[in-house]
Amino acid sequence: MRVMVLVKATSDSEAGLMPSTELLEAMGKYNEELVNAGFMLAGEGLRPSAKGKRVAFDGPRRTVIDGPFAETRELVAGYWLWEVKDVAEAVEWVKRCPNPMPGPSEIEIRPVYEMADFGDALTPEVAELHNRSREQTRNR
């Protein structure tokens, strides 16, 4: 199964504080372990939300909001995409991660939807959903 592993933001990461040499080295080693174990598909760090934008949706209206965004704990500072056997395995690997932030921090594990999750009966609706979204893009 595929999981997205989300490194949550802190006031430090939002302030654009760069990681120390020590942390960079520890993270480098950790990433190497992930690659060696053969399950890492992708991973990247994100710039602070001050550099980001949001697009708010309300009916046909689209409103662009500039960062930074307030709710720091809900923001994402980085992510990995892993292919693991189950969530328990992802949990054990996350426990081995060096604390990605100077202060207390959180890493969240979110399983990626797979077609099998929808069940066979739902697949045509999912396909229809795809078509609908494509139509919307065209109508805009």
Partner: protein
């Protein structure tokens, strides 16, 4: 609470298991014994960690526990041997000094043990099936029951296969090392063959009634990535990784909700996994950069890439595919490659060109009862407007396949040719 701790310990063990067995196998020179020692270490962990908590470096802890068991075992053996020696007046020195060897090896962490274990499990002294089962057991950490389900076999058969394989390896007195030089190429081919077999075992399964089989694809791809990481100069490793990633990108698109197979040309390409395609392309590029463009896996990956690159089926570069099959045919001659080449020619240069090549290979005995042959012929005849002949071919294909879904598919194509159902089947 206790069960939760147990589950966490078992997960940690699952993560560490392959490396643990690999390290132990190198010391005790016996995969069977290494596996037992690893299992003993798990038992120790299950009794101690609930009290002490999971240690920070769980892998090193497990290794140390297993090594203690190994040394204890050897001391016992030597004591026994000494007693025998006293009775039989045999020479003590001949018994060797296994314990010292192990203690010395404890600090000696050179070489990549996991790679050595992969090479050992895939050793050519074993049959391909035995290699696959042993690899899944030792490196994939699958249970015997899971392997049996994956290979549509029963547990006893697989268990026996694994026991025999371990015994064969033990008797062969192998060095637990990744081979070098000329031997390496042949041994690597054997490893790649096993990984691709595991992948195909999973890929060939359609429908979701057996979840272990799609997991085989994932496991084969993980093995490929592990290997690529440890053999970064081997073009065919990257060729295989590319091939598996690009094929796996279509996993969810190639069956209809009712489980019926969907032809490559009919698949909803929006559902192809773009991340896997990108990864596959990168691996293929790496294979090419390493000078492996003409490797059998790299060529097959290049073929898969042609489809992945096409936005719609109509955009497919069939001429390039035909050319790639020309090369693949030289590198890896096989009737199936010839058949696929004929299909590619039919698509690139018209149905008559395909039919001409099909006629040339139809005489090959190997393909006489091979359903895709009449199916391909039926398709060309259909496209050439020769419907009555096409129908006979589709009916023949339906009669040859053992897969019920495929049979229904061929009969559907036969019906689409119109006319009356012929007696032939």
């Amino acid at each position: 609470m206790a069960t939760e701790t147990h589950r966490a310990i078992e997960t940690v063990f699952r993560i560490e298991r392959a490396r643990l067995i690999a390290g132990l196998a190198r010391m005790v020179r016996d995969v069977g014994l290494a596996e037992e020692l690893a299992q003993d270490a798990l038992v120790t962990a299950l009794s101690q960690w609930p009290k002490t908590g999971v240690p920070k470096n769980a892998g090193a802890w497990l290794m140390a526990a297993a090594k203690r068991r190994a040394i204890d075992g050897l001391r016992r053996e030597r004591m026994l041997a000494r007693k025998h020696a006293e009775i039989g007046r045999a020479q003590e020195g001949e018994q060797g000094s296994g314990a010292e060897d192990i203690e010395a090896a404890m600090d000696d962490d050179v070489g990549d043990e996991l790679l050595s274990l992969i090479f050992t499990a895939c050793h050519p002294v074993l049959s391909t099936e035995a290699r696959a089962a042993l690899t899944l057991r030792l490196i994939g950490g699958l249970t015997t029951e899971e392997i049996a389900r994956a290979f549509l076999s029963n547990e006893t058969t697989i268990a026996q296969r694994i026991v025999r394989a371990k015994r064969t390896l033990g008797k062969a007195g192998l060095a637990f090392e990744a081979p070098r030089g000329q031997e390496r190429e042949a041994r690597l081919a054997s490893v790649l063959e096993v990984i691709y077999l595991i992948f195909n075992e999973g890929y060939a399964a359609t429908g979701g009634e057996n979840l272990i089989r799609p997991a085989l694809c994932a496991e084969a791809r993980r093995l490929g990535r592990i290997l690529a990481r440890r053999a970064p100069d081997e073009p065919e490793v990257f060729g295989l990784v590319a091939l598996m990633d690009i094929q796996a990108s279509r996993l969810t698109a190639r069956t209809a909700p009712d489980g019926a197979p969907i032809l490559l040309t009919e698949q909803n390409r929006a559902r192809w996994d773009q991340l896997l395609i990108r990864r596959g392309f990168a691996a293929l590029e790496r294979a090419g950069a390493l000078g492996g463009g003409r490797g059998a896996y790299a060529l097959q990956a290049a073929l898969a890439a042609c489809h992945a690159r096409a936005r719609t089926a109509a955009d497919t570069d069939w001429k390039r595919i035909a050319a790639l099959y020309d090369t693949l045919r030289e590198v890896m001659p096989s009737p199936v490659v010839d058949l696929n080449r004929a299909v590619a020619y039919g698509m690139a240069f018209g149905p008559e060109a395909g039919l001409k090549l099909l006629d040339e290979i139809a005489r090959a005995a190997a393909l006489r009862d091979y359903a895709p042959l009449p199916a391909a012929r039926g398709d060309f005849l259909f496209r050439a407007g020769r419907l009555a002949e096409a129908r006979i071919q589709f009916e023949r294909a339906a009669g040859l396949t053992r897969n019920a879904r495929e049979k229904a598919f061929f009969l559907g194509r036969a019906a689409a040719c119109g006319g009356r159902r012929s007696g032939a089947s």
